[in-house]
């Protein structure tokens, strides 16, 4: 987690010169690059989508590795299938109770990360707006 100020992204002012839309208006901010659908704007949008998708897939991967493997584990290991904990069969305890905190934890983890990604994006795009 790097603080947003230390973001080493490309400096937008430098690329403005190569923008294909110079004729119509002179984009000076990332926000206007995105509005103008310039190459630079596209790069920013693509990277935002890629980071968010990677985060979502990470959560799905974690869910598959914790909850998704359970049917296979139960199928393959009769030991696990018949194990008891506190007098209750383990599969009942896991599926009836244990799975829910895992799902909740993944949800909280996801929201924190996703909000952070968006805050960074807003900083990056919004910071450039201002007196220009």
């Amino acid at each position: 987690m790097t603080p947003p100020e230390a973001e080493p992204g490309p400096r937008p002012q430098r690329v403005v010169v190569t923008s294909p839309r110079v004729g119509r208006r002179r984009p000076t901010t990332i926000a206007s690059e995105i509005d103008a659908q310039s190459t630079v704007g596209e790069v920013y949008m693509r990277s935002l989508m890629r980071i968010q998708l990677r985060l979502a897939l990470t959560v799905v991967g974690l869910l598959a590795a914790t909850v998704g493997v359970l049917p296979l584990v139960f199928r393959l290991s009769s030991g696990v299938r018949r194990m008891h904990l506190l007098g209750v069969p383990l599969p009942w305890l896991v599926l009836g109770v244990g799975v829910y905190p895992v799902i909740l934890a993944l949800a909280v983890f996801y929201v924190r990360r996703a909000e952070r990604i968006e805050a960074d994006f807003t900083d990056m795009v919004g910071r450039e707006r201002g007196p220009s």
Binding site: V59, L63, R81, W92, F121
Partner: protein, 503 residues
């Protein structure tokens, strides 16, 4: 006949009607519902979402399936909860930011095609009806367990209350009614459980029926690996494609609020789903004769009378009856609103104005669901709901996932994927509902089609999109800006608005 229970059911129905009548004076147009609801706070909104989501299948069906088939059935509540996690990570914020009210709105906005909208509308009606039928069934079953009335009576009661509510136009008030119904359902299931468990532990009743290995141990039945994973796929991916779930997301203020609300919903669902399992286990001890008589779906309602008896038992049964009716009413109202909205706007809108079209469509939706209910009695409530999840996972899930995260989606691709997934899953559903499921492997595939139909839908949506690259939507870049950037950034997000599209 349990007089207390009848009074409790009446009370819940009347409260729902009264709240609807109050709403009538406040709200006049369709957009009132959406716009006014956006002032709703996150906890109230999350309660309303959970209240709408927890249906007959959750309140009665899960316990019945656990009683009947044991530990593997715990995947139903797990899947219905995890489905909201999938919704959260892939869909919640972008869907809210799209400003689509309904799934057909989203289809039209994303691929910029009217035919895609029409196919999506047809699927909303199909999924909504599939989901309404088990609610009506559950109502019939509950009222007949409480009073001995024939099963169509309960279905009629719910149908009439929902109709009165929806047709009178009390749509905005549904938020408050549904939020109340979540807490009613939680209390109605939790309170009796405390008494029942205490009695069980005090008396130490026989555990004989708890020892059957096929019931206690997971993954014992034939084809269980396929069946469980197909169930997981249908429930995990189906939630995001349910029409009444999607409509609710518009009531969030923005994308951030949509995410926060979803986390609260996950907490509320997790708390609720700890309970039905225990009813299933208690049912195994005290009511295993229900298996032979094929009435496992009513186990929740039977237990207080069998374990406690007397006035205490009657009181708790009344509470459970009230909770069950809250479940039928809240889910049915949400479904009729979303199905009626789509039917009214895409089918009847040409001949009738907005609000009259919506009312006629509501009547049509309820009538169709009633007829289907009478035709398809005998299907387990939770399984009928699961079929709706399979259709949603095979159609709207690929549309939403690819529409939000993949640039390559085209209108022909979307139509192809929706059609392939819809036809595969709904023909399986029809076969099961008509009682024609074959035995062996083919039977397993037909009863749980998701593991086949979901990949087929994704493959055809991607494949046809790649073949029709020339049809990429004209405003794709703006659309993606709208879906993915936070609202506080001042950006050009295009001009699409569902209010303009629905004329």
């Amino acid at each position: 006949m349990n007089t207390l229970a009848v009074l409790a059911v009446l009370a819940v129905s009347l409260v729902t009607l009264a709240v609807g009548a109050v709403g009538l004076r406040i709200s006049r147009t369709t957009s009132d519902f959406y716009v006014a609801s956006r002032a709703v706070g996150p906890v109230l909104n999350a309660s309303a979402i959970s209240g709408e989501y927890l249906s007959a299948a959750s309140f009665l069906g899960v316990a019945g399936l656990v009683l009947l088939r044991g530990v593997d059935m715990l995947w139903y509540p797990v899947g219905w909860t995890a489905g909201y996690l999938m919704l959260l990570v892939f869909v919640a914020a972008p869907l809210r930011r799209s400003r689509a009210y309904t799934l057909p709105d989203f289809a039209e906005f994303r691929v910029e095609s009217l035919p895609a909208r029409r196919v999506a509308s047809a699927l909303v009606v199909l999924i909504g009806l599939l989901y309404l039928v088990p609610q009506f069934q559950g109502a019939g079953l509950t009222l007949s367990a409480l009073t001995g009335s024939p099963t169509w009576v309960g279905a009629m009661v719910v149908a009439l209350v929902v109709l009165a509510n929806v047709v009178s136009g009390g749509m905005r008030s549904i938020t408050i009614a549904q939020a109340f119904q979540y807490w009613l359902k939680l209390v109605a299931l939790l309170t009796p459980l405390v008494f029942l468990l205490r009695r069980w532990l005090d008396t130490g009743a026989v555990h004989a029926h708890l020892d059957s290995r096929a019931w206690v141990e997971p993954m014992q039945g034939p084809h269980s690996t396929y069946l469980v994973y197909s169930l997981i796929l249908a429930t995990f991916l189906g939630t995001m494609g349910l029409p009444h779930v999607v409509v609710r997301f518009y009531t969030n203020r923005d994308g951030h609020a949509a995410r926060r609300t979803t986390v609260t919903v996950l907490g509320m669902l997790s708390a609720f789903y700890l309970l039905p399992t225990m009813y299933g286990v208690l049912g195994r001890v005290y009511a295993s004769d229900l298996i032979a008589s094929g009435r496992t779906d009513s186990v929740v309602l039977e237990l207080p009378r069998r374990i406690l008896g007397g006035t205490g038992g009657d009181l708790l049964t009344a509470l459970l009856g009230a909770g069950a009716f809250a479940a039928f009413l809240s889910t049915s109202s949400g479904l009729v609103v979303s199905v009626g909205g789509v039917l009214g706007q895409d089918l009847l809108g040409r001949w009738l104005g907005g609000v009259p079209a919506f009312r006629v469509a509501g009547v049509l939706a309820v009538a169709a669901a009633l007829v289907l209910t009478l035709l398809s009695s005998g299907l387990a409530v939770a399984h009928a709901v699961e079929l709706a999840f399979a259709v949603a996972a095979s159609t709207f899930c690929p549309l939403l996932l690819l529409g939000i995260w993949w640039r390559g989606l085209t209108a022909p691709g979307a139509v192809a994927g929706l059609s392939v997934g819809g036809i595969l899953s709904s023909s399986a559903v029809l076969t099961v509902m008509l009682g024609g499921a074959p035995s062996g492997w083919l039977g397993a595939v037909v009863t749980q089609p998701a593991l086949v139909s979901v990949p087929a839908a994704f493959a055809s949506m991607i494949g046809v999109s790649l073949l029709t690259r020339a049809h990429l939507p004209a405003h794709l870049a703006r659309t993606l800006v709208r879906l993915h950037t936070p609202e506080d950034l001042d950006l050009d997000r295009g001009s699409y608005h569902p209010e303009n599209a629905r004329s």
